[in-house]
């Protein structure tokens, strides 16, 4: 069964997050207001090296979670942008996480990542993660998370590069977010200083 089409619905979570994966009529490039943002569901997926990638470890960073697949043309169009964003904003506390929904997993994804020189972390998605994010039905689907791990925007389908860029820059420059980043240990990981285990990994990995 396709990972995208989850069989057993995690009804409560799906209901709460259903709106997150539906096409929005709101103009792209708009961030949700602070009080409209809901926490992104956590996930733990393996990267190409077999290392666990826990979304919670990225708390304190602005994160773009991109659901994609190797067979998806519009997804391919976004990849160079995400490579650029990862390079340009990484030092400011930004990361892209690519969640592939390819049914055959690393067989297709590994050579694709190599040939496209993807510089951000890529994982293989699962039905559970798809459900947690409101059942991903179309690709690409992306979620931009603020430093508090909340969904600040979501996009179904290809949008303009500048819309993503504007959102990322706004979130990186958000005073509240910056305070979160700067608080704590002074390493730029902010709130992560207060976490155990995951915080340590976060300082090492992302």
């Amino acid at each position: 069964m396709s990972r995208i089409h989850a069989a057993a619905a995690s009804a409560a979570v799906a209901f709460l997050l259903a709106s997150c994966s539906r096409p929005s009529s709101a103009p792209t490039g708009d961030l949700k207001s602070q009080n409209q943002r809901k926490p992104a569901p956590n996930f733990s997926l393996k990267d190409a090296d077999g290392n666990a990638v826990n979304l919670a470890d990225y708390r304190g960073k602005v994160v773009l979670v991109n659901f994609w697949a190797t067979w998806c043309g519009p997804c391919e169009a976004e990849i160079p942008w995400f490579i650029e964003f990862e390079k340009k904003y990484k030092e400011q506390g930004f990361a892209v996480l690519g969640v592939s929904m390819d049914d055959d997993g690393w067989k297709s994804v590994r050579p694709y990542v190599a040939s496209h020189r993807i510089n951000y972390r890529v994982m293989i998605g699962s039905e559970v993660v798809s459900q947690q994010f409101g059942e991903i039905e179309s690709l690409p689907t992306s979620f931009v998370l603020d430093r508090e791990g909340r969904i600040a925007s979501n996009h179904v389908g290809l949008i303009d590069k500048v819309d993503y860029q504007n959102e990322i820059v706004k979130l990186l420059q958000d005073p509240k977010s910056a305070a979160l980043r700067d608080a704590g240990d002074g390493t730029g990981n902010g709130m992560l200083a207060g976490l155990t285990g995951a915080g340590v990994r976060a300082r090492q990995r992302p």
Partner: protein, 148 residues
């Protein structure tokens, strides 16, 4: 050939953007060949990769028939269109709108007379100009009658 509104509504309501009309029953003699067309209709605004996609990662349109009283000896797909989309630098080999796939069947010389049903799978992957849907496999069937 267009699908009936009822069939179309039913298929599209199930989340399929590719709909097919059940192929007409075929009547064939043992040892003879027969063609069967599978009429397809794609939701407006969508395309599917052709049977010969222009990129190795793209998922081709594929029709397969399970072993049965007739052997699928070959397929005829329409000529794909090379379409340029905003998300791709190169044109893509696609089908859209209404089209059909023809299967050449051969009945074995020792085929037993009588009615039978042949089953198969239609696998496709569809996109529009900004997003793609996951690959999907539809069950297809063909009523056949082998006559002396």
């Amino acid at each position: 050939m267009a699908c009936s509104p009822d069939l179309r509504a039913q298929a599209f309501a199930q989340g399929n953007v590719l709909n097919f009309v059940p192929p007409r029953k075929v009547i064939v003699k043992p040892g003879a060949t027969v063609d069967s067309a599978l009429p397809l209709e794609l939701r407006p605004g969508y395309h599917v990769n052709s049977n010969t996609p222009s990129d190795e990662y793209l998922i081709p349109l594929r029709l397969t028939w399970n072993p049965g009283p007739l052997d699928a000896a070959g397929f005829v797909f329409p000529q794909p269109r090379m379409e340029k989309y905003g998300f791709s630098e190169k044109p893509l080999s696609v089908f859209s709108g209404d089209f059909q796939i023809v299967t050449h069947f051969k009945a074995p010389a020792n085929a037993a007379p009588g009615p039978a049903t042949l089953t198969g799978k239609l696998r496709y992957q569809a996109c529009n100009t900004s997003m793609c849907l996951p690959p999907k496999t539809l069950d297809v069937s063909l009523q056949i009658e082998i006559v002396k």
